[in-house]
């Protein structure tokens, strides 16, 4: 499926899914850190895969990425990116102890960040299910702390036949006047996007009274 095939209706549907998913994600995050976390969806877009690193700030931008396989009616890979310079703060919030070096998180800190990525992915997939009734299950998460291109090279190898595009939902989380941007990426396997947009169309079909 080509990028130019996306129409306004489909992008609107994605935006709505992004809003509901980010709402779920903010609730999840509030429960994990034990404080209220607000959110706003800043961008929902469809990008060619080669533009992902640019979106994240460039090929050499240091990022923290939680990645996991997606199974079910649609397969692929989900990625949740956080800025690397904020990762020790985020891990500290979750485990209640500040990490010294962001490139060497403690075992517990690493586990907490992976779990956060996994729970946020669940929040977005759950929103998708609510709209289009397509079941997608996320697998065991992995964590990569590296430059954007290095992370993408590693993760994309696992996806043999991918669509050449990624669905991106960028969300700003606001906790106690501190802002944290998290970007959720869905990289579907070849053929999956067509299934997804067919489901979008079906979910909005009017009942036939004829």
């Amino acid at each position: 499926m080509e990028l130019e095939n996306f129409n306004d209706f489909q992008l609107d549907a994605l935006r709505e899914i992004g809003n509901v998913g980010a709402g779920n994600a903010a609730t999840a995050l509030s429960q994990m850190v034990g404080r209220r976390v607000g959110m706003s969806v800043t961008k929902v877009l469809v990008l060619p895969t080669e533009a992902i690193a640019g979106f994240l700030g460039g090929l050499n931008q240091n990022v923290a990425a939680v990645h996991m396989p997606i199974y079910g009616e649609i397969c692929g890979i989900a990625l949740v990116f956080f800025p690397l310079e904020r990762i020790n703060e985020l891990s500290g919030m979750l485990i209640g102890k500040k990490e010294e070096n962001p490139l060497h998180l403690s075992e517990m800190g690493e586990s907490a960040i992976k779990e956060l990525g996994s729970i946020l992915t669940g929040a977005y997939l759950s929103a998708l299910f609510r709209f289009v009734h397509i079941q997608m299950i996320h697998g065991v998460p992995g964590l990569a702390l590296d430059m954007a291109q290095a992370v993408l090279d590693t993760v994309l190898v696992e996806l043999e036949q991918k669509e050449e595009i990624a669905i991106v939902i960028e969300t700003e989380f606001l906790e106690n006047e501190k802002q944290l941007t998290g970007s959720f990426f869905l990289l579907p396997e070849a053929g999956s996007l067509k299934k997804l947009f067919t489901a979008f169309s079906k979910s909005l079909e009017l009942p036939n009274n004829g």
Binding site: A28, M32, E107, M108, S111, A112, G122, S126, I137, H138
Partner: protein, 120 residues
Amino acid sequence: MGHRVMLVDDASFMRMMLKNILVGSGYEVIGEADNGAKAVEQFKLLKPDLVIMDIIMPEMGGIDAVREIVKSNPSAKILMCSSMGQQSLVVEAIQAGAKDFIVKPFQPSNVLEAVKKALG
């Protein structure tokens, strides 16, 4: 109070959170496992009053582990712990013999309520 609980989750962070909630309310955490296969083995040895089991784990997932445990111990009490978006798996886990489920992330009160209910 004083019930013996086993925790099964591949995320050490989640096991720690559950352990803090349970121990703080007087439960005893007698064992932990990070995949379904280890959970089946440990269940035989430890015979806990309750198991809290993650669904998605490496090697053997939580649903297969529930099937194995219930096959040899039909009265085993197992609570599933799943993320949002895993509705179909929760149904499968209940059919396999789990008593109830908790959705991650959880509030301590939800965990304690589900544990109390499962222990009957």
